[in-house]
C-alpha cells in the first residue's frame, strides 16, 4: 500500500524534474527516478503466491531493459556533447543529423 503511493509520488517527481529540465543530464536523472518508481510499483506482486514468479520475472526484465536504455542515453549524451559542445536541452529540439 505505502509502496504504491510512494511509487506514484516518485513518478510525479520524475515527471516534474523532466519538464523543468534545462539540460539532458536532468532528463537522465528524471528517467532513473521514474524507473525507481517502477521498481516500487512491482512490490505487491511479491505478496501474492500465484504471482511471485511473474513478479520476479518482470523485475529481472525491467532491471536489464531499463539499464540498457539508460546506457544508450548516457552514450547519446556524450555524443551530443562531442558534436554540439553543450548538453542544453534546446539542442535536442533541432532535429537529427543532416544527411
Amino acid at each position: 500500500m505505502i509502496e504504491t503511493a510512494a511509487s506514484l509520488g516518485l513518478l510525479a517527481l520524475g515527471y516534474l524534474i523532466a519538464v523543468s529540465a534545462k539540460d539532458v543530464i536532468r532528463i537522465l536523472i528524471a528517467l532513473e527516478l521514474m524507473f525507481s518508481a517502477v521498481f516500487l510499483s512491482l512490490i505487491p506482486f511479491f505478496t501474492n503466491p500465484s504471482l511471485v514468479v511473474e513478479g520476479n520475472a518482470i523485475a529481472i526484465l525491467t532491471v536489464f531493459t531499463s539499464a540498457g536504455e539508460l546506457l544508450i542515453l548516457i552514450s547519446a549524451i556524450i555524443f551530443l556533447d562531442k558534436k554540439f559542445r553543450t548538453t542544453a536541452i534546446e539542442i535536442t529540439d533541432m532535429g537529427g543529423d543532416v544527411l
Partner: protein, 150 residues
C-alpha cells in the same frame, strides 16, 4: 513495526526525490537520485526480496547510478529553473490524491516471498543478460573511439 519502517523509507525516498528536483547543481541532484535508489533497494531488502535488491544494488546503483554521478560531475551546470508555482501546487495536489487513492486500493494478499530460483533455476540467463549489457556498453565505447580516430 513493518509499516513504520516502510513508511519512513518511503518518506525518505520522496524527500530525496524532492531534493533532486530542488537542487540546481547536477552533481548533487545525481547524488540525491542515487539515495532514492538506495532507499527503494532498502524497501526490497526489508521485505526479504533479496534477489531484486541485489539486482537493483549491482546494476542500478552500482553501474548506472555511478555513471550518472560521474556524468553529472563532468557536466556540472547550475540550472536556472522557471516553473509556474500555481501549476506546481495543482499538480502536487493531484499527485497526492492519485497516490493516496492508489495506495488505499492496492491489494496485497499475504507475506512477502521470493521466487528467483523458480524464474532462473540456473544462472545462464542472468549471465546472458549481463553479457548483452556489457556488449551494449562496449559498442558505445567502440563507436566513440572510431569517431575520435576518424
Amino acid at each position: 513495526m513493518d509499516a513504520v519502517v516502510v513508511t519512513v523509507l518511503s518518506l525518505v525516498a520522496i524527500l530525496f526525490a524532492v531534493a533532486a528536483w530542488a537542487s540546481r547543481d547536477n552533481f548533487y541532484s545525481a547524488i540525491y537520485m542515487s539515495a532514492v535508489m538506495l532507499t527503494v533497494g532498502g524497501i526490497y531488502a526489508f521485505h526479504g526480496i533479496y534477489s531484486v535488491f541485489i539486482l537493483i544494488a549491482f546494476v542500478f546503483i552500482g553501474a548506472i547510478g555511478i555513471m550518472t554521478v560521474a556524468l553529472a560531475a563532468t557536466y556540472r551546470s547550475i540550472n536556472p529553473r522557471k516553473i509556474s508555482e500555481n501549476w506546481l501546487v495543482v499538480v502536487e495536489i493531484i499527485a497526492i490524491v492519485v497516490a493516496v487513492t492508489a495506495g488505499i486500493n492496492t491489494f496485497m494478499v499475504g507475506n512477502f516471498t521470493d521466487a528467483f530460483d523458480k524464474v532462473l533455476p540456473d544462472y545462464l540467463t542472468l549471465i546472458a543478460f549481463l553479457i548483452v549489457l556489457t556488449t551494449l556498453l562496449m559498442l558505445s565505447a567502440i563507436s566513440m573511439l572510431r569517431r575520435d580516430s576518424a
